[in-house]
Symmetry: C2
Amino acid sequence: MATIGDVARLAGVSRSTVSSVLTGRKFVAPATRERVEDAIGRLNFTVNSGARALATSRTMNIGLVFSFRQSMYVPSATTYVVALAEEARLHGYRLTLVTGSDSVSEIKRLLASKSVDGLVVMEVLEDDPRLPVLRDAAVPSVLIGMPEDSDGVDAVDLDYLAAGRLVMDQVHQARHRRVAFVTWPTYLHEMGATYAHRFRTGAEEGARELNLDLSTFLCDVDQTSILERVTGIIRDPSYEALVFHNDAVAPVLSTMLVREHREDLQVLGLCPPELAREHWLPFDTIDTQPEESARTAVKLLMRRLNGTGTETGEPDGIDGRDGADCHERVLLTPRLTTRSPWFGLENRDAGSSD
Amino acid sequence: MATIGDVARLAGVSRSTVSSVLTGRKFVAPATRERVEDAIGRLNFTVNSGARALATSRTMNIGLVFSFRQSMYVPSATTYVVALAEEARLHGYRLTLVTGSDSVSEIKRLLASKSVDGLVVMEVLEDDPRLPVLRDAAVPSVLIGMPEDSDGVDAVDLDYLAAGRLVMDQVHQARHRRVAFVTWPTYLHEMGATYAHRFRTGAEEGARELNLDLSTFLCDVDQTSILERVTGIIRDPSYEALVFHNDAVAPVLSTMLVREHREDLQVLGLCPPELAREHWLPFDTIDTQPEESARTAVKLLMRRLNGTGTETGEPDGIDGRDGADCHERVLLTPRLTTRSPWFGLENRDAGSSD
DNA sequence: CTGAAAGCGCTTACAG
DNA sequence: CTGAAAGCGCTTACAG
C-alpha cells in the first residue's frame, strides 16, 4: 500500500508538501498541488488512518454506545444506528459500536485508548451511571434521551412530555373520559428510562388537567402479558380510549379490536415509524422521530468537535443559545399522524398537527 | 493521558519492557511484570489504539458492511449487528459501521486507509459488485449470504435451499396440494439477494418433487401490496397452504385469517426470531438464525486473522476441511418451530424438527 | 511557496 | 531477562 513517501517521490516533492495538500491547511501552488493529486490518484493512495490519528489525535471515529438491555425494542434501534452512521459519514466520521452490558467500563476503555473523538449514547437513564464518565471525558458526548440533569453533555430527544399531553388532548377532543394507558414494564420505569417516565408524566399531567379518568398499566413486552392486558382493557366497555407507549402493543392490537368488536375504542400510540410502516395500524400515532434525533445528535457532536457550526450550516432545529460552556438540550416537537378508516385496505397517512 | 513512557518511568523500567508485558509476547520476570502492572493500574493506562495500529498494522477493528437498501427489513438487522458486535468483542475486536449506498467505494476507502483488519458483509447478492473488491483485499472477509461463487472469502448463511424444501415437505405431510408462495419483491430477486432466490429455488424444487401445485407471488413490502395479495389468496378457497418468505406478510396475517375465517389454511413462513417474538404468529415458522449466522461469521474471520482456530476453540458447526487456501461455506440447518393453537391466548413454542 | 526535522505512542528486532 | 534504537505513516512548527 502506498504511503505519503511514495506519493512525494512520484510527484517530486517533499512529504510535507503532500501532507499539506492532504490536509488542505496550507497553501500549495496550484501546479504542485496538481502533480501531487495526480500522484495520489495513480497510486490510489489514502491516508493511513492510524498514522493520522496518532499525529493529529483525531480518530475521525465516533463511538455509539447502546447497551441493549434485554427489554429494549431492538428493531427500532436500527433506524437510529443507520441514521447516525449516515450523518456521521456526511461529516467524514465513522461509527464504532460499543455494546455489551457493562458499558461503563467499555466506555472508559474506549476513551482511554483514544479510539473515538466523541460519543453518542442511546437508552439514557435518569441517574445514568455513564453520565459521570461522559462528563469527565476528554471528548464530547451527546445523549439521545433527556435526563433531568444532562450537565456536561448535549442531549436530544423527542419531547415525550409534550407527547403525553398531546395524546391526552386528543382524547379530550374526542369527548372521551375514561382512558387506559399501557406503558412500558415496571423495571423500565424503575431503571429510569427517560422516554418512559417523561411520556408517562406528560400523560398523567395532561389527564389531570383535562379531568380525564386515567388508569395506568405497566406492562411487560412478552406476548402473554400484552395479550392478557390488552384483552382485559378491550373487554371492559367502560374504557373509551386506549393509549399505549409500549411497542409490543401495536402488533396485536388490530386483531384484538376486530375479534372483540371494539372498533369504537379510540386508540392512540407512541410508536417508531417502522412499526407504523410494517404493521397494520389503523389508529393515530405519534412518531418517535428516530432519524431526526439521530441527525441532530451528530450535528451537536460536530459542533463541539469543529468549534461552532458545521460546514453544512447550523443544525436544523437547534436554537443558537450556545454559550462557550453551555450544553444543549434539544427537544423535538411531537407530531400526530392520523390514519384513516378502520380496517380499510388503504392506510394513508393524513396531515400532521401539533 | 498516560503513555507507555509514564508507565516505564513509574515502574522504573524501559519502555520496551512495558511493551513486553502489554503484548505478552516476551517473557518478563514476575517481579518486573508486577511493578509494571501496578504502574499501569495506578496511571489507568491503556494502549493508544492508533499508535498500536501504526506499529503493528493491526487495528483490532472489523468493518461491518451493510448498505441498507430501501427494501430490506430493517428491524431484523439489529439482531445481526448486536450479535456481531458482541462476538467481536469477545475476541477483542470492535465493529466499525460501513453504511451508505455506494459501499464499493466506501469499502475501498476503508481498506486503503487500513482502518479494519477484516470485513463482514451483509445483504450479499449473486454477482455482488463488492465481491471482486473483497477478493483483492489485503484483509479477509466473510459474507453473511451465500452467492454461487464465494471464492476468496468465507461465507455463512441459513441453508435457504433446505429451508424451501423443508417447508414444502410440511405442506406435503399435511396432505395439502395447492399452495400459494408469497416471496420478496421482484427487484430483490432481480438484484439477486441470495436468501430470496435460494429459498425460492428450494421451495419450487421441493414442490415439483412432491407434486404440489405451487403458485409463486413476488410481492412488494408495502401495506397496500401485502394486504391486496394476502387477501386475494385467503379468499381463494382452493388454496390449502400459504407459504411466505417476506417479512411484511407476518404482521397482517393473523388479522386477515380471522376476518376471512380461514383458520383452516396452513400457514408456514420463514421469519426472523424477533418478528416471531414480537408478533402474534399462530403458525409455524423457520427461524432465520441471525445470531448463529453472526457468531459464525465472526469466528470464521477470527480464524483467518489468528491463523487456525481461535482461543475459544473451533467455531461451532464449522467442519474442519480448511485447506490453507480453501474458503469456507457454512450452511446453517433450518429448524421448524411449530406453534400451538390458533388464536389462543398462549403462543408457546414447541420442539423443533429438521 | 517548499523542505528537513522532530514528534505522535507504540512495537520489535537486536545487543547486551 | 532488560534496554537503546529504529521504525510504523503521518502532521506540524520552523527555517529558508
